[in-house]
């Protein structure tokens, strides 16, 4: 296996304990900060070359959000690493009981192409913070960014403990034959299953950040222009190539009529009359994806946009009206700048529709009526939920970010990334003395002993004397 040497080398270093001390982890994290600062221009250029990522967007998602996560971690790492002391019962009252935060060992991070720096770097922050050695596999689809990471990152991080592997599908399959102590994967559900199956051979725990079709319900009572702006922003950011983008809109026929001109205005405000000329609108990452998106345009009727250019891999910000649930565009995650609107009679029908499909990464609901937003929240299930906006819930480092069912398992961001890469080890430190107390648990048993054991170990119900 071509990667066996690398993995054994990392495991040997891991066993030596090099990555454990807090000072070491902080130094590596600071170095990551330097990477973001010093290579900022290179990152903006590489992502622009790879997928026409607008500089503004790249600064926001690839630099600013990453630095937020980094600072959050640097500020709190010593606190997160501490042993967590827990409540004890009567028997262990004089002992020391705590949860020790242990690293897993050698972990693997596999990142996708849509936010090619962010989606390996934010997990990497947690993996390093938790004290692991890491193999990073950036996406092979965004070639310039992949090269930048492979060439530049090793100059910032300790080469003994952190390695970047460039690999296509075949090589990644071979990489996965090795035993890792944790695998963090961001990508599609199909590959997610392959990753988890490979992990099962070694009993490797995983975090899978997958995707799906994120529904966006717009009720009849709302400020239409604000809704249109927030939905358009979320849909067309990164030319729609965002796992948490609002994938489709559910609304009444009346609302569709109001939304269409409002969406048109928002798109024009954002990108001008010809989005192709706007420096703020991205492109599709590859020919394969571009061609596929073109076929999806044949659903419903094109009301806004619809223009494409193969050479630039440009697809205009597009809105499709009167889309049917059976249309091709409603069968898979779109991952492009096309927003279908599906008519539903009312909120109940919208909720039924959402619940008849795989659970998405996020459910969006727009309404000026709190009750409507809360109904949609309570009666659906999804990774996360955002009322009256799009995308913003992932910018808060205090909220765990992850999916459910087909949209993934596990969470991260902020402390949750540290937790994802940490094994919480239950520890009990007893004294050698007070052996008399233990006499209760030793045979020979008797009813009297049992009564005492029961009394000593019991959790009493508040407000009642008996268990009845």
């Amino acid at each position: 296996n071509p990667y066996m040497g690398l993995v054994s080398r990392l495991r040997a270093v891991w066993l030596s304990g090099k990555t454990r001390p807090m000072e070491y982890r902080m130094a590596q994290l600071e170095a990551l900060g330097c990477f973001l600062d010093e290579k900022k221009q290179d990152i903006l250029e590489a992502t622009a070359l790879d997928m026409g990522k607008p500089h503004f967007e790249a600064q926001f998602s690839e630099i600013i959000l990453c630095k937020n996560e980094l600072h959050e971690t640097l500020n709190n790492l010593s606190h997160w690493m501490k042993d967590k002391y827990v409540d004890k019962n009567l028997v262990t009252r004089l002992d020391s009981a705590f949860i020790r935060k242990d690293p897993y060992g050698v972990v693997l991070i596999i990142a996708p192409w849509n936010y090619p720096i962010h989606l390996f770097l934010v997990p990497l922050i947690g993996a390093i913070a938790a004290g692991n050695c890491v193999v990073i596999k950036p996406s092979e689809t965004t070639k310039n960014t992949e090269r930048l990471v492979a060439e530049a990152l090793p100059n910032y991080l300790d080469k003994d403990c952190f390695a970047v592997v460039t690999a296509g599908m075949q090589e990644t399959t071979r990489l996965l034959e090795n035993k890792f102590d944790y695998i963090f994967f961001t990508g599609g559900s199909f590959v997610g299953r392959i990753i988890m199956t490979a992990a099962a051979k070694h009993l490797t725990p995983v975090t899978l950040e997958l995707g799906g079709k994120n529904p966006c319900y717009v009720s009849d009572t709302c400020d239409v222009q604000n809704v249109a702006r927030r939905v358009a922003w979320g849909r067309f950011f990164n030319a729609g190539q965002t796992c948490i983008a609002p994938d489709y809109v559910l609304c009444s026929a009346e609302m569709q009529e109001k939304l269409l001109p409002a969406l048109h205005k928002a798109i024009t405000d954002f990108y001008g009359p010809n989005p192709r000329e706007s420096p703020d609108f991205g492109r599709i990452v590859g020919d394969k994806q571009f061609q596929h998106l073109q076929t999806l345009l044949r659903s419903g009727r094109v009301v806004i946009g619809g223009q494409t250019d193969e050479e630039e891999r440009y697809i205009a910000p597009t809105v499709l009206a009167d889309v049917l649930p059976s249309d091709p565009i409603m069968q898979e995650e779109i991952f492009g700048p096309i927003l279908p609107i599906v008519i539903v009679a009312n909120m109940d029908k919208a909720i039924d529709f959402i619940n008849s499909h795989e659970r998405p990464l996020v459910v969006y609901a727009f309404s000026s009526d709190d009750k409507v937003v809360n109904q949609v929240l309570e009666r659906t299930s999804s990774g996360g939920f955002c009322g009256n906006d799009t995308l913003m819930h992932v910018t808060l480092t205090s909220l765990p970010f992850g999916g459910i069912g087909n949209s993934g398992l596990g969470t991260y961001h902020g402390k949750f990334t540290f937790d994802a890469f940490t094994h919480c080890r239950g520890c009990l430190h007893r004294s050698m003395g007070r052996e008399a107390l233990n006499a209760l648990r030793y045979p020979p048993y008797s009813q009297q002993k049992l009564g005492l054991v029961q009394a000593a170990a019991e959790v009493k119900r508040k407000g009642s004397c008996t268990l009845l």
Binding site: G17, M196, F270, G408, L409, M432, R441
Partner: protein, 451 residues
């Protein structure tokens, strides 16, 4: 076999009906379980005795008591556990509602093991019900009496569609694993653990695997040997060694090996009397297959104590082996029996190196008066859980998450950790449709000023 599809389908339809979402419903089910524990205590204890020759006090304190404790805690704490959890907001979200809401996952599968046959289905069940899920239970067919009692009793007290009990062996479990679940908690061995995870991968189902391994027990020269050996003896021979967190083998300096043996012998007499076979407190091996397997591990070993066996009753006496070689058969697999190998090591460094050269165990035990040494062992090794100067006791502290790492498992439960394991923590951000001015910062056209 389509029966499995029907059972799971019914549980899912029942879950989708929404009736197990309300806290009142979950409380009612938990209280019904409490009632069952009180009314059917005798039947449950009798079943465990029939399966493992376990005395009533033992079965009560090691299985029923733990279940009762988790039940009482869940009933008491459920409202606070299930409440939305507000989180820190930033400048952009200062006026919004931001919280994490624990929600049910859906339909959960619990596969139990035979060694603590009642505890290992019931304890997870409590957390799964508390978290608002439907639960399919598959108790181990090897502990057939307890499986039958669970299958008989649960439908008398709990909602039958939401919490079905499925009985059967490998074919039934294989068919069950083809169905789609929203979480699977499996207790058993690593080999089957891999099969369960591979089946879960097909549906992207999150899993908790409570597996096993060889839990090492290091005895430092600087310790109260009599106390240490008493505690180790208790933990090792409990349930006839058939405990996932039993100290599997001992590592100690060759100079104290014979003292360790002597102390264990003395304790064995105290605990089980002159004739172990006659003690009502000493269990039996679960079946002939495991009986033969364990006896096979004694081949070629120096038996310092014990070794007597009786196939008819699946009795194996508490046995100690000395000067065991790391390469021997008894050191290859989890013993899961009343056989305690002692391996001499010259220092704690050697012990740590030895432990780290093997799969990560479910539990790791160290006996020493030297706090620095204990700290060192914790820091330089990895294991599911750890106890200094005792064995097993961390299991009974529900504030500690109970689970393995590496080959010994993934995920954890007990107490509140069960509730967390069986919940989906949904992040919620609820903004105002007004206050659009703040949002203008993020909209294109972009500019350096905006950045």
């Amino acid at each position: 076999m389509e029966k499995m599809q029907q059972v799971v389908g019914r549980a899912r339809a029942a879950f989708n009906s929404g009736r197990c979402h309300s806290l009142e419903f979950r409380m009612q089910q938990l209280k019904a379980l409490e009632q069952m524990m009180q009314e059917k205590e005798k039947e449950i204890l009798a079943a465990i005795k029939a399966d493992l020759h376990k005395s009533e006090p033992n079965a009560y304190s090691h299985e029923l008591l733990c279940v009762m404790r988790d039940l009482v805690m869940a009933i008491d704490k459920l409202p606070s556990w299930a409440a939305p959890r507000p989180v820190k907001r930033d400048l952009m979200t200062m006026r919004d509602e931001v919280y994490v809401f624990p929600e049910p996952l859906g339909v959960v599968l619990i596969i139990g093991a035979w060694n603590y046959p009642f505890l290992l289905v019931m304890q997870p069940l409590i957390g799964a019900i508390a978290a608002g899920n439907a639960v399919v239970m598959k108790p181990s067919e090897i502990s057939e009496n307890t499986a039958r009692v669970v299958a008989d009793l649960l439908p008398q007290y709990l909602d039958r569609e939401l919490y079905p009990v499925v009985t059967g062996g490998v074919p039934e479990t294989t068919e069950l694993l083809k169905q789609r679940f929203d979480h699977i908690l499996y207790t058993g061995n690593s080999t089957v653990g891999k099969i369960v995870m591979a089946a879960a991968a097909k549906h992207l189902t999150p899993i908790t695997l409570e597996l096993g391994g060889k839990s090492p027990c290091y005895i430092d020269k600087d310790c109260d040997l009599a106390v240490a050996c008493r505690r180790i003896t208790w933990g090792k021979y409990l349930n006839c060694g058939q405990t996932c967190i039993a100290p599997d083998y001992i590592l100690c300096d060759p100079s104290i090996q014979s003292k360790v043996v002597e102390n264990i012998k003395v304790t064995l007499q105290e605990l089980y009397g002159e004739d172990v076979k006659k003690s009502p407190d000493y269990e039996r091996i679960i079946n002939k297959r495991h009986f033969k397997r364990i006896l096979g591990l004694l081949e070629g070993q120096k038996i310092a104590h014990g070794g007597e066996a009786d196939e008819a009753s699946c009795f194996i006496a508490p046995t100690i082996l000395t000067d065991v070689s790391p390469a021997s058969k008894v050191m290859e697999e989890e013993i899961f029996g009343p056989v305690l190998p002692i391996l001499p090591v010259k220092s704690v460094d050697e012990a740590i190196e030895f432990i780290n050269s093997r799969e990560k165990p479910l539990a790791l035990y160290v006996f020493s008066n030297n706090k620095k040494l204990i700290k060192r062992v914790i820091s330089e090794t990895s294991s599911g859980g750890f106890v200094a100067n005792d064995v097993i006791m961390h299991f009974f502290l529900s504030a500690l998450p109970f689970g393995g790492v590496g080959n010994s498992g993934m995920g954890a439960y007990h107490g509140k950790h069960s509730f967390e394991t069986f919940s989906h923590h949904r992040s919620c951000l609820i903004k105002d449709l007004k206050m659009e001015v703040i949002n203008k910062l993020r909209y294109p056209p972009g500019s350096q000023k905006k950045v």
